[in-house]
């Protein structure tokens, strides 16, 4: 059973003439880091939404084929079940962080899952340790750098303890220092056995990838060195 499996996936947004995903097939092994490259508008983010359930639960359109997480079809899964299996970090840290303190931000997910307070406390401490931001527990996300904000966004997803992590161009708005720290965190997560999907358009950010694929005209193919 694959942590992520896409079978003959087609998707077309409402009001569009052509499919943005045109027969995508993908199977990711446990603990594997797969990078997905593609030009702007090629459907990288759409692919992420198909892997984390935002399509079809939030974004509507014509979807056919299957998107499976540990053998279960995302279409039939509840939000709570998806959130504990697939965690997603998006490109813009400012639209992901909405709490006054780092601690509140990380607690948000477990609170939604009705986890008890003691366990939430443990998860906050563990998530902060994994991203190396323990000292910023009571800080306001507004006072952090872009890279630090993105680390908090990762921590807030880790507190849900998902097996699969999707990083949707998380380093595109970050300076070099921030990128280095994020890459270190990704390395640590890889070591801990997490399955990671990294959507990128920058080839320099693929150090940890075991496999690199490219999305071209709605199809996902192995990367041969050219976009």
């Amino acid at each position: 059973m694959f942590p992520v499996e896409l079978k003959n996936l087609y998707f077309k947004y409402v009001g569009k003439q052509t499919n943005i995903l045109d027969g995508v097939n993908l199977a990711i092994n446990k603990g594997e880091v797969v990078a997905i490259l593609g030009l702007s508008g090629s459907g990288k983010s759409t692919l992420c939404y198909c892997m984390n359930g935002l399509i079809p639960h939030v974004y509507k359109g014509e979807l056919s084929g299957e998107s499976l997480v540990f053998g279960s079809c995302l279409k039939n899964m509840k939000i709570a079940d998806i959130a504990t299996k697939v965690g997603t970090v998006f490109q813009d840290p400012d639209t992901q962080l909405f709490s006054p303190t780092v601690e509140d931000e990380i607690a948000f997910g477990p609170e939604n899952l009705c986890i008890d307070r003691e366990e939430i406390g443990r998860r906050i401490a563990s998530a902060l340790e994994q991203v190396g931001m323990t000292n910023h527990r009571l800080a306001s996300p507004d006072h952090l750098s872009g890279g630090q904000k993105q680390l908090i966004a990762i921590a807030s997803v880790l507190s849900l303890q998902p097996e699969v992590l999707i990083f949707d161009e998380i380093m595109s708005q970050i300076d070099e220092t921030g990128k280095t720290r994020i890459k270190e965190v990704i390395r640590g997560l890889k070591k801990s056995g997490k399955t990671i999907v990294m959507v990128e358009h920058n080839l320099d950010n693929l150090d940890e990838a075991d496999r690199v694929m490219v999305i071209l005209k709605g199809k996902l193919i192995n990367f041969t060195g050219k976009l």
Partner: protein, 248 residues
């Protein structure tokens, strides 16, 4: 975790509710001055950020003239100070009404600084513990959180227009209003996109996964909170009774 500030946000909300209600109900300038001074005092004790409030009040002072003239013209009362022929332009009654209006606004602005001494997460938690649905309380907190971002976006669009050579200050008001209508489109679209991104991030973190949710933050009221809430409510009721029933 318990809230780090000394007073429970619910206590502050009750105090502010009493102060602003008094500001609305009372029509006596001396009592209004007293309410404003009390608001100031509470804000200072709670280390409220009064500087932005002062800045806002400075702008409000201009309104005093407008309100005073409008009151003098449409509801003349008291002694006429300035007149145009037989038409009173400024009367003592109008001036007092203008001053009362400013005092009321000042109480509300200073009250906001009292509430702002708690973080919006604490306020949300306070409202939730008052049995207000989490979705509504959260919506309010997100609006507060993203308001500065919206202001920033408006400033950016205005700057972009000025960088294209449009000098807004030199354009007549009518044309300027048309330009403002143009900038509305990118601001609304930008806001909708941000809201969509925020919603997506929340969904992936199991927002509304269940009808109930737990809370890591728990607010606990201390005896000082109970005392202050009781005192505020008693004081409010007493002032209203004395003012309205006894007509003092």
């Amino acid at each position: 975790m318990t809230a780090p500030t000394t007073l429970d946000p619910r206590t502050k909300l009750v105090m502010v509710l009493c102060l602003s209600s008094l500001a609305v109900f009372i029509r006596d300038i001396y009592v209004l001055v007293g309410v404003l001074l009390l608001s100031f005092l509470i804000s200072v004790i709670l280390k409220g950020n009064l500087f932005p409030a002062f800045k806002q009040m400075k702008r409000l002072l201009l309104l005093i003239v407008v309100v005073a003239v409008a009151q003098s013209l449409f509801a003349p009362a008291g002694r006429t100070i300035v007149a145009l022929g037989t038409v009173p332009i400024l009367t003592t009654g109008g001036l007092i009404q203008g001053a009362e209006f400013i005092l009321r606004m000042a109480v509300i602005v200073v009250s906001a600084t009292i509430v702002a001494t708690s973080s919006y997460r604490e306020i949300v938690q306070g409202l939730v513990q008052w049995k207000i649905p989490y979705e509504i309380a959260f919506m309010v907190s997100v609006a507060i959180r993203f308001l500065p971002m919206l202001i920033e976006e408006i400033k950016d669009v205005m700057l972009a227009i000025q960088l294209r050579g449009v000098e807004l200050q030199k354009i007549p008001l009518r044309k300027r209003l048309r330009i403002y209508s143009y900038i509305l489109t990118p601001i609304v679209i930008g806001t909708v996109i941000k809201a969509e991104k925020l919603a997506a991030a929340m969904e992936t973190r199991a927002f509304r996964a269940y009808p109930q949710r737990t809370s890591y933050m728990i607010l606990k009221m201390a005896s000082i909170d109970y005392m202050l809430i009781s005192f505020s409510m008693l004081a409010f009721i007493s002032v209203v009774i004395v003012y309205y029933m006894w007509g003092i």
